[in-house]
Symmetry: C2
Subunit: 352 residues, 2 copies
C-alpha cells in the first residue's frame, strides 16, 4: 500500500489494517476523501479549513487512532512552546513555589513548563542539553548556577537561558537572584540585636556559589560587629536535614557552645533542631536558630523557624517572563533582576 494522498473528494479503501502507530496523514486523507494537505491543515491549523471538513478529518483521525508526527516532516507547525526548569535534586522543597511562579506566567502565555533533575550528573545534564539543542524544549531555567554539560558558554549567550537563585558571574547570562550576602548579614544582625555574640554557622555545600555568598554574609556581620572569625564555630553542611543534625551536634558539643546558629538553609536548621534534641537541648531556650529560604517545613517544624524568606514565586515568574521575551524577540541584552527577601519572625530565636 503506497502512502500517496487521494485527490480531494476521492474515495479509497479504509486503512484500518495498518498498525495505528504506523498510520500516516495519507491514510486519514484516503479515509476522509480529502487531500493530505487538508488533513494536515485540519489537524494543525484548524482555522484554515471550514468547520465541517475539520470535524470530519478530526473524527476520522480519532477513530483510526492517528497521531500526527510533527518532527522529521515538512510541517513547519510546532507543538506549543515549552520551558524546561533544570534543578539538581527534584525533591528539594525549595523548588515547588518557584516552579509555581514560573507556571503561572507560562500558562498565561500558553507555554508548558517541565522540570528535570540532574542529580549533579554530567551525563544527565547532557541528556537535557540534547533536548534543548534539538529544540524539543524552547527555553531553560537553570537553578544550579552552571551550564549543563553539552551547552557551551558561547551557545548559551545566544539562547533563551536564565539562571535563577544561583548566579555564575563568569557566564554573563540573564539571571533572577536575591542578595544572598546581604540577607545572610541581615539574619546575623537579627541574632546580634537579640544579644547573641557567640554565633555558629552551618554552611551549605561550599562548591555552590549561594553557599559561599551566605558564608560571606556571616563573616561580614562578624567583622562589622568587631567579632573574630572562629573556625570552630563553622560546620560544613550540604543543605541536607541529616547533615544539619550532625553539624548541630558537633557545634553544641563544644566546651564553650554557641548561643545561636545561623543555618545556610531551612532544611539544615530543622535538622539542627533534632541535633540539639539529641543532646537534650531545646530550641530556643538553649540555643537559637535562624534559617534561610522559608520552605513549608519552616512553618510546621517544632518550634516554627525564624528565617529569611526568598520570594520564590516572584523569582519563578520573573524567570519565565525573561525567557518568553527571549523566545519571542531573540536573546538580546542580558537582564539581571534582583528581588527582595523578607525576614520572617517565628519562634526559634530568643533574646539573651
Amino acid at each position: 500500500m503506497k502512502d500517496k494522498a487521494a485527490k480531494p473528494g476521492g474515495r479509497a479503501a479504509p486503512a484500518q489494517k495498518r498498525p495505528a502507530h504506523r498510520l500516516t496523514m495519507a491514510d486519514v486523507a484516503r479515509r476522509a476523501g480529502v487531500s493530505t494537505a487538508t488533513v494536515s491543515r485540519a489537524l494543525t491549523r484548524p482555522d484554515q479549513v471550514n468547520e465541517k471538513t475539520r470535524d470530519l478529518v478530526r473524527g476520522i483521525a480519532e477513530e483510526l487512532g492517528f497521531r500526527p508526527n510533527l518532527i522529521g516532516r515538512q510541517l513547519r507547525v510546532r507543538a506549543a512552546t515549552s520551558l524546561l526548569i533544570l534543578v539538581q535534586d527534584l525533591d528539594n522543597p525549595f523548588y515547588a513555589e518557584l516552579i509555581k511562579g514560573a507556571e503561572a506566567v507560562a500558562r498565561a502565555n500558553h507555554l508548558s513548563v517541565m522540570v528535570g533533575g540532574t542529580d549533579g550528573l554530567e551525563e544527565v545534564e547532557q541528556l537535557y542539553s540534547e533536548q534543548f539543542l534539538g529544540r524539543r524544549v524552547d527555553g531553560l531555567v537553570i537553578l544550579f548556577g552552571h551550564l549543563p554539560a553539552g551547552i557551551s558558554p558561547k551557545m548559551a549567550e545566544h539562547s533563551p537561558i536564565v539562571l535563577v537563585s544561583e548566579d555564575n558571574p563568569a557566564l554573563n547570562l540573564s539571571s533572577v537572584l536575591v542578595d544572598n550576602v546581604g540577607w545572610a548579614e541581615r539574619a546575623m544582625g537579627y541574632l546580634m540585636e537579640r544579644g547573641h555574640r557567640r554565633i555558629a554557622h552551618i554552611t551549605g555545600p561550599l562548591a555552590r556559589i549561594i553557599s559561599r555568598q551566605r558564608q560571606e554574609g556571616y563573616w561580614n556581620a562578624l567583622a562589622k560587629a568587631g567579632l573574630p572569625q572562629d573556625p570552630a564555630l563553622e560546620a560544613l553542611g550540604d543543605f541536607s536535614f541529616e547533615r544539619g543534625r550532625a553539624a548541630a551536634r558537633e557545634l553544641l558539643s563544644l566546651p564553650d557552645r554557641p548561643t545561636a546558629i545561623f543555618c545556610a538553609n531551612d532544611e539544615a536548621a530543622v535538622g539542627a533542631i533534632l541535633g540539639a534534641a539529641d543532646l537534650g537541648l531545646s530550641v530556643p531556650s538553649d540555643v537559637s536558630l535562624i534559617g534561610f529560604d522559608d520552605i513549608m517545613l519552616a512553618q510546621i517544624s517544632q518550634p516554627p523557624l525564624t528565617t529569611i524568606r526568598q520570594p520564590r514565586q516572584q523569582m519563578g515568574a520573573a524567570a519565565a517572563q525573561l525567557l518568553i521575551d527571549m523566545i519571542e524577540h531573540g536573546p538580546g541584552k542580558r537582564a539581571h533582576k534582583q528581588l527582595d527577601c523578607e525576614l520572617i519572625e517565628r519562634s526559634s530565636v530568643r533574646s539573651i
Copy 2:
C-alpha cells in the same frame, strides 16, 4: 545574503554579522569552507565525517554560537528520547521516589525524564498533550488516573502511555499499580490485631479512584470483623496535611471517640497528629494512627508513623521500562503490573 551552501573547499565572507539566533548551517558551512551537508553530518552524525572536519565544523559552530534547529528541517536525526511524567501537584512528596525510579531506568537507556504538574486544570493538561501529540516528548507516565485533555482514549491506545499508582479500568491502558483495597485492609487488620474496634477513617478525595479503593478496604475490614459501618467515623479528606488536621479534630471530638484512625495517606496522618495535639491528645497513648504511602515525612514526624509502604522506586522503574518497550517496539498488548506493598511498623500505634 542568501543561505546557499558554499561548495566543499570553497571560501566565502564570514557570517558574524547575522544575529546568532538566525544563523543557519549554511553560515557555518561558508565559514568552514565545507558543504552544508558536511556541517549537518559533523554536528549530528559525527561518526560519518573525519575527525579533522568534525573538529573544524564544531569549532566554528561554537565560535559563531550556532545551535542547529533539528525541527522543521529535513534532518531525520532526533534529539534524545524523553519521557514526561504528569502529576497533579508537583510538590506532593509522594512523587519524588517514583520519579527517581523512572529516572534510573531512563538514564540507563539514554532517555531523559521531565515532570509536569497540571494542578488538575484541563487547559494545562492540554498544553502537555500538545507536547506529546507534537512528539516533543515520546512517552507519558500519568499519575492521576485519567488521560490529559486533548488525548482521546483511541489515540492513547496506540501511544506509549502508562498509568502509574492510579488506575482507570475504563481506559484499558498499560498500568503499574499496587492493590490499594487489599493493603488498606491489611492496615485495618494491623489495628484490629492490637485490640482496636472503634476505628475511624480519614478518606482521600473521593473523586480519585485510589481514595475509593482505600475506603473500600476500610469497609471490607470492618465487614470481615463483623463491625458495623458508622458514618460518624468517616471524615472526608483530600490527602492534605491541613484537612487531616481538621478531620482528626472532628473525629476526636465525638462523644465516643475512636481509639484509632486509618488515614488514607501519610500527609493526612501527620496532620492528624497535630489535630490530636490541638485537643490535648497525644499519639499513640490517646489515639493510634496508621497512614499509607511511607513518604519521608512519616519517618521524621513525632511520633514516627506506622504506615503502608508503596514500592515507589520500583513502580517508577517498571513504568519507564514499559514505556521504553512501547517506544521501541510500538505499543502492543496492554501490560498490567501489580507490585507488593509492605507494612512499616513505627511508633504511632499501640495495643489496647
